[in-house]
Subunit: 224 residues, 2 copies
DNA sequence: GTGATGCTTCGGTCTGGAGCGAAGTGTCTG
DNA sequence: CAGACACTTCGCTCCAGACCGAAGCATCAC
């Protein structure tokens, strides 16, 4: 007996892990690019692109083209409401994420979040820089203190001052409680980490794999 | 990869056509056997049995064994709320099932939503009660005004004060724009409707079929 | 112009899981 | 007890779709 609207199509769209991760990321209300969403979902750009087409056709998200970027946002508030309701139900049913594997442990320790460092190490760095007064401010408006700027320059970290994107930003971390550092500074520090050879980036993952010496050097350099 | 509850598991459970048909059937609020649900979904008993195990493990439905029968019902009202919200979204996105027949019209007019009245009539009742000040509050926190409580008692509507579930709740309606009344009061009013003989309930549907006199009495009683 | 970047499309592989037949478990009737 | 009935479990097939490499567009920077 088929009555009423077809739940299954919509639920099936939300029901794929990659897509639900993208939708969850879009719950922030911000518009995100395909690349950012791919990174959020932990899949390659081609895969994400396919998912985004399906979500768009299903009416769950909307696309805005700006130059070579495609920005995506939730289609409307009703979509957000349904996602919120699903989150509530999932929480009530104890379906918290508990996946644990070797891959997962590495991801939780240190990973790339778009273009900056996330995970336990990213959160520790962020907390350390704030405790020492290198970073100031709360929430979205974080700034580099003058002493901090000098310190970064002394380390040879270049901030690409041409870009108009925010210099410092905090980004919520899912694996560790707290935030990590995003923005141009976050990007520059991650780049520095790779050029110094402290860590490598295994193919097709978000994992940032520090060497033992590399992690020690990283902690010492940023003094946390 | 974001923090928070895992939407995907729950949504994936709902996202299969067979399972969503079963859940939709259970939205009637009645307990159904595995065999009945299999025929609702259009699959063999073995297949349905597998789905029911998964839905049970996911916390969406509950099982009661009675002799050689297994009866299933939705786990709780929250599940029903989420399903109703999904129906609303699906309807808004034009994912209606192609069949639009007399049945569909009846469903839109008046139907059961878990244990309370939904459809045009349910929304009209809700709007009427609010306009007259019987119900107060916005969003999730809706309450029965003192005058309203007296009015309901005068009508002989019993509120089962033992239950700890909320007395009044609003529930989004998918067929009409607006909300209808859920919670203990919503349940009591629907029970009253049947005991008064204003409406009957055709087998195997969510339809609530009012008689002409019954609908008039219903509207007059609740004064809308 | 050339090269870099962001995204899409195409073609291919591979796995999760939906489906069913058959056999097994539990419950009722006579 | 045997046999009917309701449901579950097992074993198997099969396919949708998730994923990625490579190639193709479009846009930007120089």
């Amino acid at each position: 007996m088929k009555e009423g609207p077809d739940i299954a199509r919509i639920a099936n769209l939300i029901g794929d892990p990659s897509r639900s991760n993208m939708l969850t990321a879009l719950m922030s209300g911000k518009a995100l690019t395909a690349g950012e969403l791919a990174s959020e979902a932990g899949v390659q750009l081609q895969t994400a692109s396919g998912h985004l087409v399906r979500l768009e056709e299903g009416g769950l998200i909307k696309r805005e083209r700006q130059g070579r970027h495609h920005y995506f946002r939730l289609a409307d508030a009703e979509v957000a409401t349904v996602l919120e309701a699903l989150m509530g139900l999932a929480a009530a049913k104890g379906q918290l994420r508990t996946r644990t594997g070797p891959r997962d442990l590495e991801l939780r320790h240190a990973r790339v979040c778009y273009n900056h460092l996330a995970g336990e190490l990213g959160v520790a760095l962020y907390d350390g820089l704030r405790a020492r007064g290198v970073l100031r401010g709360e929430g979205d408006s974080i700034a580099l203190a003058d002493t901090g700027r000098a310190e970064m320059e002394a380390l040879g970290i270049e901030l690409n001052t041409k870009s108009r994107s925010p210099e410092c930003k905090s980004c919520l971390d899912w694996s560790a409680r707290g935030s990590h550092l995003a923005g141009r500074l976050g990007r520059a520090i991650l780049d520095h980490t790779f050029t110094q050879g402290w860590a490598i980036r295994p193919e097709n993952t978000r994992i940032v794999r520090f060497t033992a010496l590399g992690e020690a050097a990283f902690r010492k350099t940023f003094n946390f």
